[in-house]
Assembly symmetry: C2
Amino acid sequence: MKIRRLAIIGVGLIGGSLARALRRAGSVEQIVGCGRGRENLEKAQQLGVIDRYTHDIGEAVQGADMVFLATPLGAMKSAFAAMKDHLAEDAVITDGGSCKGSVVNDAREVFGDELSRLVPGHPIAGTEKNGVEASFAELYENRRVILTPLENNSEESIARVRRMWEDCGAEVSEMSVEHHDEVLAATSHLPHMLAFGLVDTLARMKENDEIFRYAAGGFRDFTRIASSNPVMWRDICVANGPALSRMLSAFAEEMNDLAQTIAAGDGDHLLEVFSRAKEARDRFVDGLKG
Amino acid sequence: MKIRRLAIIGVGLIGGSLARALRRAGSVEQIVGCGRGRENLEKAQQLGVIDRYTHDIGEAVQGADMVFLATPLGAMKSAFAAMKDHLAEDAVITDGGSCKGSVVNDAREVFGDELSRLVPGHPIAGTEKNGVEASFAELYENRRVILTPLENNSEESIARVRRMWEDCGAEVSEMSVEHHDEVLAATSHLPHMLAFGLVDTLARMKENDEIFRYAAGGFRDFTRIASSNPVMWRDICVANGPALSRMLSAFAEEMNDLAQTIAAGDGDHLLEVFSRAKEARDRFVDGLKG
């Protein structure tokens, strides 16, 4: 079943790539874009990513049977509030937020008993670029999309969101909101904190120009994610605060232990840790290829 | 002035690339390789990287006016001891170790008053690959080489080592042993600890297969250095123990503070940290291009 009208709130890399992929698959009839920047939306229309646009969320969702929110986490609640009284009878809402607990809380506060309209989701995909011009139809091919269905979601709503992502070539899994937020804290949010933290620590050193001058290629790869959007990451940290702060404290504890192992010159223990890590990392890369 | 005979102890990526670069520049007459693995040395000879080889360090350095040590840090001391009584009158020794304090200590114990023969060095270059087949003449082009001259090095010895690296296309700087070890702890050793530590932490989680399944491209880049050689990194940690354990403890402290900032939901402070880091990282990458 085709999507009759898709409303995309936030037409950037994530929203724009969804639009392009669904168009290519012939899975959507009409796409309405919504956002604040006129220039980006005009570009999206010129590129054929969307059919028309509006700056008004209420107007954007009118008559839409599928609503996709790709707004920053900090703007989700006001977006839910703006669409609440304008949704079509058969509208299903889903989103692309990197943290699911906060999105569900925001939606619950706005929708109350109608929370079942929301099937929360998270495509594990992206690049460092932003804006509709960076979007492309292949972004979700063979990438994972996690859905975190809610208790009172209908089977049909979940199936519609799942099909949408499968039409983009993604591999869809389901897990609980809490589990999603734990897993992402470990694999994405924590590494970002370490990269931001390391670069910031080095930048605050007295001779920081010199420090960076002697950094090599490994440092560039390691810190690439520290070039990510600071506002987006502030929102993610606030949204996933409990899980992330717990994980980061635990990791700091591990690093303190490692510092002591190094100070004690316990080579056997170091070799054990590094070998286990190398093996896991090599296995992970093999898994990506497979 | 050409190098008359270069002895390379450890003909892998680092030693092999030095040989290739000097040959290409026409800066060396004869190259003798030394190592434990016959297969690698035969390959090096076949490829024309070295002219001949021996498994005996004492034999390798005979008649050599330049000796380059590319052995693991843990094998430096025994290499110094093995060459001690066979060095030519005009021989200068230099090395490629990632930590200079331990190399100098090892050399001091072996050479005593003749320590001035050693001009310690560190080419900031490398790839994840090992062995002579991974070596190439361009490895050091526009890369930095740090020399940490010792008090009683002659100007001439330092100049000879400097010229060797400049002939490879490298940019040579000088700093103290202590400063080198601090700078490298920050830009290289600490990031490696974080990458090894993160992957190990995730690998030890109960559902580690699942955890890695949802890791994305950013994680792959961030953890690339965790695929490095565990034995080499054990040696580096033991060699640079004091500076590295101090740096790692300080960083763990910073991460604990960040965890508290996140738990408190202090978005303004987070935005400040992330923005400062992004700016420094973008500046660093611009610097690499320039």
